[in-house]
Subunit: 389 residues, 2 copies
């Protein structure tokens, strides 16, 4: 090892020594396996006789594409920053973080290989259980703590500056908040949706409303976000009889509009409900928007008396939450649409025997959420919208 610290790309054979070096393992024998699953990063699990750890490293490129698609590994800084903020206020909602090695863009964290990705569980017909309450509390805790309500003005400015994330924000600005509404090589869709995809590209009202959401995403520096809070960013399971929920992968984190986090979750939850209905599954899928909103609102209101800036009064809180509700619906709609006619699709729909009808239903719901977002007063209105279809 030289005195100059360089960026080391870790391989499975390096992990045991790396963990000892970082003080996360003593002399015990560790068995290491690579379990990289997401598109971007490498994940290793190191298991010893007494405990088990995960090491997640961001590569300087997109893992599944290789060095031909470079991507700054500083996304790992964003991830570590978001975890640190949540750990201070709601540690149980995220994996335990043992340490972040900024020089190597590597997080050492809780082994979650006993848990399963929520989307996979849902696609197999499983239920949400208590997940939406956890998610609502996660968003409330993170967003309150990093808003002008939970953090001093000066600390907030420092957080805004530290958390700018040009590369990953640009992906969202493009892939989520514009490409599906224009002709773009990234877009593709099921042939049964040709007419709707064309109609959405030629829909001036929808385009203007999405532009509005996009500008809110680009300029609304309300709080630190997870930034990619879909049902694939949540692990669920059971440990010793207790349900466990972990929100993970906050590498798209930056200071943005709070409604983006709620909206992404809602978009995915609403589609899981459409899938369940298409398959005739009687479950709790249709309640998840309401449950997560109620948990969010309850937790945010519980935290409100602790705000650092009491010029913001209770009447302002009501107004703030009303706007946040409406923003969240808009982002939910955008998430649904982009996941059906944009770049990356939802397996919730693509794995249906006939994806066409459910995808049409979801697309129309997405559009309604965007263009009617100011007119939908609460979860019961969204439920009515769903049942009308």
């Amino acid at each position: 090892m030289t005195t100059t610290q360089t960026y080391r790309i870790l391989e499975a054979d390096d992990i045991a020594a790396y963990l000892r070096e970082r003080g996360h393992a003593d002399g015990e024998h560790l068995t290491v396996r690579e379990v990289s699953d997401g598109n971007m990063n490498r994940v290793f699990i190191a298991t010893g006789p007494t405990h088990s750890l995960a090491v997640k490293q961001a590569l300087p490129w997109v893992r599944v594409a290789g060095p031909s698609w470079p991507m700054s590994p500083s996304r790992a800084d964003a991830e570590a920053r978001a975890y640190a903020q949540v750990a201070a206020v709601a540690p149980d909602t995220i994996p335990a973080i043992l340490g972040y090695d900024a020089a190597n863009y590597a997080l050492t964290m809780e082994d979650m290989s006993d848990l399963r990705v929520l989307r996979t569980v849902l696609n197999e017909g499983g239920s949400y259980g208590d997940t939406s309450r956890h998610v609502g509390e996660f968003v409330a805790a993170l967003s309150f703590a990093t808003s002008d309500f939970g953090m001093s003005s000066a600390d907030r400015k420092a957080l805004i500056a530290a958390s700018v994330s040009p590369e990953l924000c640009k992906i969202t600005e493009d892939v989520v908040l514009s490409e599906p509404y224009i002709e773009h090589e990234h877009n593709h869709w099921h042939p049964a949706l040709d007419d709707l995809a064309a109609a959405f590209r030629a829909d001036p009202l929808l385009r203007t409303e999405v532009a509005d959401l996009r500008h809110t995403f680009m300029t609304g520096a309300q709080a630190l976000l997870h930034g990619d809070l879909h049902t694939g960013s949540i692990m669920v399971g059971n440990r010793e009889g207790t349900p466990v929920v972990r929100v993970f992968d906050p590498e798209f984190s930056f200071v943005g509009p709070i409604g983006f986090d709620l909206g992404l979750y809602w978009g995915n939850a609403l589609v899981s409900g459409i899938r369940a209905r298409a398959l005739g599954i009687k479950g709790d899928h249709a309640d998840q928007l309401a449950l997560s909103w109620q948990a969010f609102e309850t937790e945010f209101r519980r935290l409100w008396p602790t705000r650092v800036d009491t010029f913001f009064d209770d009447a302002y809180l009501d107004r703030f939450l009303r706007r946040l509700w409406s923003d969240s619906l808009g982002f939910a709609g955008a998430e649904i649409i982009r996941r059906i006619i944009g770049f990356a699709h939802l397996t919730d729909l693509t794995t249906l025997p006939d994806p066409g009808p459910a995808s049409r239903e979801a697309l129309l719901l997405g559009r309604a959420l965007i263009v009617d977002r100011d007119g939908l007063a609460g979860p019961e209105d969204v439920r009515a919208l769903l049942e009308k279809r």
Copy 2:
């Protein structure tokens, strides 16, 4: 001179050598005088046989208070950054900048000692001339160029991070956007306003609307602002028969809501109109909000086809400008109120023979602008509001 660059506090005797060192003067004899006038910084004018320059240096404290009130001199970085952005798109609206010396927080710039502060001219009964058109164009040029319409997403994120200004933003958040509505030792007012000052502190609607404006100021990262665009931040005059307008002192600059710049100017312009009416001066004072808005809108619309991001369509521009109009009215109202019952008062009103009635009129106008800002459709509605009183 040592090899370690240290922060040198410049005195009048240092300026000639300093300007030669910086390459802004050759061997010619320079006569230097200090003309420091604002609260914060020192300004020197150096005059030689062929040309004349100004040197403005930020001290590590508030000039008029001395070292007992420390203040980061990095406000000069903010000022230089704002000037550089404007110089690229509308150089004629600001003083010519010859150079910025970041190590010493010193700007070398055009000598404006032949010009006069707009507020002084107005207080003496002078007219605006073409100033409001210049101001509208200044705000349009700066805000368009540094918004997501004029700048790439990645460059914008870098600008947001570079331009955070915790210390000066906090002054605005406190002095402009909260203190006047609560009991605070900074507040004072003319005895004839006791009842209104008390009523404003006990006005829940006003408080909630100001909280909304305050949160917009804290989170609305739309474009680089001047940040303190009142009639004391504008110099006017005449050179060789041509009217000259220079917007200066952008040390409160940061990436915030565009309506804050327009609003500050409008608040001050509206009060100058109330002063003129109180004194029976027939002039152009009442037209300035309309003239600056029209100039702003015309220039912003002229620039729109050059936007870097064409996902933002014409219908979105209309919506964006409607919201900006409403934000600007709200900030105008807040500026009026804080300048009458807050910390720093307007000489426009304090120098009237009887400040009471005009100040009452201005306070009520300020409140109406804040609470009715969404209902005032255009400049003619504001004019009607003024004439009704």
